[in-house]
């Protein structure tokens, strides 16, 4: 089994797909860091113009000003219900930070690294996982090489399992490299510190209101590990579903296409979640796990961490069962 997994990893490395994925990561993280750096600068500049130089040097003043801005936005009669609840939660969160003397405005390298994964967990990173997983089986079907593997006195389930384990390993690598590149690149812009500053987590939303009674402060590094752990779990789920599609279809193009549209439909379906309960059982609308612990999620009744974890786990299990069942019985006609 070990040698079979090794075979799959060697193939993956030789195909250079992994390097492309890592290259994309490097470019995107650099762009994101530059953008963050720029917008932070701009915010400061604007506030300096409005409230004066000395005031803007103090993060408490900036946070207070942001709260005032949000309040006036809430008072506007034109704001829709969705934005209103999101804004209200964000405002209350900011207030909590102020009350507890935690600086939410400045960005450190550690905070950027956290924020990057929060922003990419539902679309960008899953896309990279699809690139890796989509051709694992369909590529061999299209190339005819699957025949080489299945006529060698190794049962089919073992062949498939070795591919799946190789995928999990590679995904772990990609998530790990995301962490590494984020830290390295963001340090250039924001400095390499901020690992021990406190982060508030455990916000809960009840009836559209933020509940802060269960909030605890944890150091940034601990929070970061939590976030990356969740991200890996989400990537495993996406990878597993993508792997299943790759078993079911014969061409890599079709496999990537199906997964892409599924993911995109996820962000599209998000806007119906409050009124329509069916889509919330789809895996692609449950991928923003990090938002539950950061408290930045738009509050939806009935969707919480346990719910989303359960939905994802069920999808993953189902995808594994379907993959192995179909692969073991199918006729190979290529």
């Amino acid at each position: 089994m070990y040698r079979l997994v090794q075979n799959e990893v060697v193939k993956m490395l030789k195909k250079k797909r992994l390097y492309i994925v890592l290259g994309i990561l490097l470019v995107m993280i650099s762009a994101f860091a530059y953008g963050q750096y720029h917008s932070l600068d701009r915010t400061r500049e604007q506030l300096t113009r409005r409230i004066g130089m000395t005031e803007a040097g103090d993060w408490r003043k900036i946070a207070e000003q942001q709260i005032i801005d949000m309040k006036s936005r809430l008072d506007s009669p034109y704001i829709n219900e969705q934005n209103r609840s999101t804004t209200r939660v964000r405002m209350e969160q900011l207030q909590y930070y102020l009350d507890n003397n935690i600086n939410p405005v400045d960005i450190s390298g550690a905070r950027f690294t956290t924020r990057f994964i929060e922003q990419s967990i539902y679309l960008f990173l899953p896309l990279l996982m699809i690139l890796l997983a989509a051709d694992m089986v369909s590529g061999e079907l299209a190339g005819g090489t699957i025949k080489l593997l299945l006529v060698r006195g190794v049962p089919r389930w073992k062949v498939l399992l070795s591919k799946y384990l190789a995928l999990l390993l590679l995904e772990l690598n990609v998530v790990f490299f995301t962490l590494l590149i984020s830290v390295a690149v963001s340090g250039i812009f924001f400095g390499y510190g901020g690992w021990t500053e406190p982060v508030a987590t455990g916000f809960q939303v009840a009836a559209g209101q933020l509940v802060t009674s269960s909030v605890v402060n944890v150091p940034q590094w601990q929070y970061l590990l939590m976030v990356y752990g969740l991200a890996y779990f989400v990537m495993v789920v996406v990878g597993t579903v993508s792997f299943m599609i790759s078993v079911l279809v014969k061409s890599t193009a079709a496999s990537i296409g199906i997964m892409l549209s599924t993911l995109v439909s996820g962000s599209f379906l998000n806007s119906f979640l409050a009124d329509w309960t069916l889509p919330r059982y789809l895996f692609m609308v449950n991928m923003r796990l990090t938002d539950y612990i950061s408290g930045s999620l738009r509050p939806i009744e009935g969707m919480n961490m346990t719910f989303s974890l359960t939905v994802l786990a069920v999808w993953m299990a189902a995808a594994i069962v379907v993959s192995f069942w179909y692969f073991s019985k199918r006729d190979i006609l290529v």
Partner: protein
């Protein structure tokens, strides 16, 4: 090679039926291949050759029937059955982004008994030693075919399956391949199952040939015995007397095909006797011609000039 008995088939197919998308692809296919036997599987394109091979290699499951390899049932003892098989199925697809050597190493890693020495040995055997470190992407079809043969034989299988192995090889390569197959069968005792649509090739190297057409095996025979019977046509002045003679003396049913023409299938060695007898009985023999006696005649005869399905 313990426990191999020459009289026990390495490969046995019993009553194989297969339908794909509602179409009968194979109907009641039976065959046995013995150690040290080169078994030719002959059929037009679409006759069911590759489907049969896929069933033997476990890539598709028959609807009915049983495949046994080296005494193990393919269905219930897949691993032990397939461990004794080396094969090329249809085209020799390999990983294009790997070198020839990397391909072989990948596949060798899937079985426990293949060493690097053995890999080097088969590379030399198929004559690829100079290009083995190049990417398969740069190989010609003939070189891919050689690489395919190398991966098939490196595990010293008891059953070697070659699907259209001459595809893409030049005449010299085909001659080398023929020699290699003979060596594997007669020196190493492998059972070799070769499918082909090229008649001359089959007749040249095979011991036994099975002819398949539209999913049915029409005939299985020893190649040595082909050519024993020929169809002879005589131009004589007394056709009815000639036919009577054939019937009386040799119990051969002849037919009259023209005003002075008589035709019959006879054993080749009897032709002289018959001609002698005709003359002795006062039949004037204008000429006599023989048809057939090659695998091609037999094939066309059996399949009715099989069209490509």
């Amino acid at each position: 090679m313990v426990g191999v008995f020459m009289n026990e088939p390495v490969l046995q197919l019993t009553n194989i039926y297969k339908k794909i998308k509602g179409k009968d692809i194979l109907r009641d296919v039976n065959l046995s291949v013995y150690p040290s036997e080169i078994f030719g599987f002959l059929g037009a394109n679409g006759a069911g050759k590759t489907t049969t091979i896929r069933i033997i290699a476990g890539l598709i499951k028959p609807d009915l029937g049983k495949v046994t390899i080296g005494g193990f049932s393919l269905d219930s003892d897949f691993v032990r059955a397939m461990s004794q098989v080396g094969c090329i199925i249809e085209s020799p697809d390999m990983y294009k982004f790997l070198t020839g050597m990397e391909n072989l190493q990948q596949l060798a890693a899937m079985s426990s008994r293949i060493t690097q020495d053995r890999i080097d040995e088969v590379v030399e055997l198929v004559g690829l030693q100079h290009r083995i470190e190049d990417k398969v992407d740069t190989y010609s079809l003939g070189m891919k075919q050689r690489l395919g043969i190398a991966q098939a034989i490196m595990g010293r299988p008891r059953l070697l399956i070659l699907d259209e192995p001459a595809n893409g090889l030049d005449p010299a390569g085909i001659a080398e391949l023929r020699q290699l197959i003979r060596r594997l069968a007669y020196d190493e005792g492998m059972a070799v199952f070769v499918s082909s649509h090229i008649l001359a090739e089959v007749q040249q190297i095979c011991d036994t040939v099975a002819i398949i057409s539209r999913g049915v095996i029409l005939n299985t025979l020893k190649v040595k015995e082909i050519g024993k019977d020929v169809m002879v046509e005589w131009q004589v002045d007394k056709p009815s007397l000639a036919m009577e003679l054939l019937k009386e003396r040799w119990d051969i049913a002849a037919e009259q095909t023209g005003k002075n023409r008589v035709r019959a299938v006879i054993e080749r060695v009897m032709a002289e006797d018959i001609n002698q007898a005709f003359i002795a009985e006062g039949i004037r023999l204008a000429y006599c011609e023989a048809h057939g006696g090659t695998l091609e005649d037999l094939f066309l005869n059996l399949t009715g000039g099989d069209e490509i399905v």
